[in-house]
Subunit: 364 residues, 2 copies
């Protein structure tokens, strides 16, 4: 574990065991496709290292033909697909919520996100090869090799599920590669799931079984964790029946440069960041240098036909001597925008922190 | 015109010519399927009354076979489809924005919305019958019989367009009926377009031609009006290049009962309203009786398999003597919620007013 951490001297490590780490924002913003070495790492327990030659994944449950494949079987039998997609933790930007009131979970800055090229088989192809019975209301549960340490419950294999409809959409990948190379251990080698548009919790790493079933996964991550609770609910009063399972992620944006609390020279400063909306284009990004009183429109950088990627933006602003609050908010193609205050989205687990992103800078 | 208005003594009329009117909110909230007599009316000019036997609609442009049909032809040739869908004006709830600063347009309360059963042919079927050339990037423009009075421009036939991809989705209807009867004159008889999920401007009434073309409609409504502008833009500085055409509508919700400025008896009061998210389920509705400091969860009423309908909600709250600010906000399945303040979404045309809905009541 420590060895792995030492390979990444520049990540901000929130926890060493399990390893949870994110890149500094300027480096995150430096490339549209995030370097694998800069990709955030989120683990829930141990970090398995199965033999890539011997590891098998079984497709079972509500299928006519249960099938078991090795990585090599999959590579030989299925067309290789590449999907460029953002992966983001449901807790990305949690630190902003913790400034309102304490939450559970690590204090992620806006770096628990990355955009990568994922390489593998289409999960729809894999399920069809097992003669999946396509009926409304079914779920696809992923079972993993890692043993998650679950707060208030027994350690158990990590698991999560997605609706069968999403699994059959063609965009979900049973992935063996990332950014042109084999998956690295911390990203789920030799096989993981990648669910574009959904919170990272559903993109199960070290996957060993895929089960089609009438109900969502029975695993702790599905039933008790990764639920969006109302603001009045606390760790003591939490009731899973009053939470909503987190699948699609909300509209979000963040300032990556300059960093918070930076001291800048007077004059023109270029502000840079990202914006992301699930399944909808970003149509406008507004930046304010006075805490949200006035807004200017940032330039949206060209990203081509990349529906699951983020949108990079930048804008040159003039800053005079003194303290300034820089703010960003994004708008999607449905005219939807972000809430202004973290307090408006606070929940005790600190999920879906998607209010306007604000940083303070000082100009000398 | 006056005769028509006299048929609807209970609508709130913002303008008689063109006729723009909406129902009182308690009546709007009384039925999941809005009575046709209670459905908001939005017109941009005259109100044509073509002969239903002779009226024709032509499908032209980028199609292999230009076709012209009467209403009877359409009813004979195409399978009849029924889609239950909300129609809402892009200016619904504009009055809340006008409390921040003046905007152009009528001061719509939250009643410029309704949920109806629309009956007609699938636009996809109609376009296929004309051998439409399905290519990415095409648009379907609708030409209408009404002559719109356009602010700052010449009077011209009303027109608007949608992307071909949406037109071919199967959910867009070339409608001749509403709630089990023929369309009424004010709702576009004998034929109109109904685009579920999109702002009402795209659901063109009195449609006479449907043209598949490489660009959006050239009509005033498409190119100059119904654009979402940044907050710094004014009628004097407006630049269509900096506006975004309004298609899909954002997440929204409103309190329908009690009405604003109502005086209530102390004790339990039932608060009722609607919530709507384009293409996503509403998963939670929060109600506050103290201006948004504390929230309770409303009961979401059962609506069955109605992806394009609104969600009705209600909650019993205890109110003590004094003044109270009741607030509602909704959450969709992507964990997205509404901005808190109208100021956060203000634009000079007063579109997409989707901040938390607030009303003041007095308890004696």
């Amino acid at each position: 574990m420590l060895g792995l951490f030492q390979d990444k001297p520049d990540l901000i490590v929130h926890s060493r065991d399990p390893l949870n780490a994110e890149p500094p924002l300027a480096r995150l913003r430096s490339r549209f496709l995030t370097d694998t070495a800069d990709f955030y790492i989120r683990t829930h327990g141990n970090m398995p290292e199965p033999d890539a030659e011997k590891h098998r994944v079984t497709v079972k449950g509500d299928v006519a033909r249960e099938r078991t494949w090795t990585l090599r079987d999959l590579q030989g039998r299925f067309e290789t697909r590449t999907v460029t997609a953002v992966m983001q933790c449901a807790g990305n930007r949690r630190a902003d919520l913790q400034e309102v009131r304490a939450t559970t979970g690590d204090p992620w800055a806006p770096g628990a996100i990355g955009n990568a090229e994922w390489i593998g088989a289409s999960l729809a192809d894999v399920l069809r090869e097992a003669d999946v019975r396509e009926r409304p209301g079914l779920h696809v549960a992923f079972e993993a090799l890692d043993i998650a340490r679950n707060e208030g419950a027994k350690d158990a294999p990590y698991g999560a599920s997605i609706p069968l409809e999403k699994a059959m959409s063609g965009e979900v990948i049973l992935a063996w590669g990332m950014n042109g190379s084999s998956l690295r251990r911390e990203h789920g080698a030799p096989l993981r799931i990648v669910v574009p548009g959904y919170a990272g919790v559903r993109s199960v790493k070290w996957v060993s079984a895929i089960r089609v079933q009438p109900k969502p996964s029975n695993a702790f991550q599905q039933r008790h964790d990764y639920l969006l609770f109302p603001p009045d609910m606390s760790p003591e009063t939490q009731d899973p029946a009053r939470g909503t399972a987190i699948y699609e992620m909300p509209l979000n944006s963040a300032i990556c440069e300059p960093g918070p609390e930076t001291t800048l020279p007077a004059g023109s400063t270029t502000v840079r960041g990202y914006a992301i909306a699930t399944g909808r284009p970003i149509v406008r990004v507004d930046v304010s240098v006075n805490g949200g009183r006035d807004w200017q429109q940032a330039t949206l950088e060209e990203k081509g036909d990349q529906p699951w990627s983020w949108t990079f933006w930048h804008i040159a602003v003039d800053l005079w001597k003194g303290e300034h609050e820089l703010v960003v908010r994004a708008w999607d193609a449905a005219g939807q925008t972000q809430p202004s205050r973290p307090d408006d989205v606070w929940n005790f687990k600190g999920y879906l922190s998607a209010a306007w992103h604000r940083i303070r800078v000082r100009v000398d």
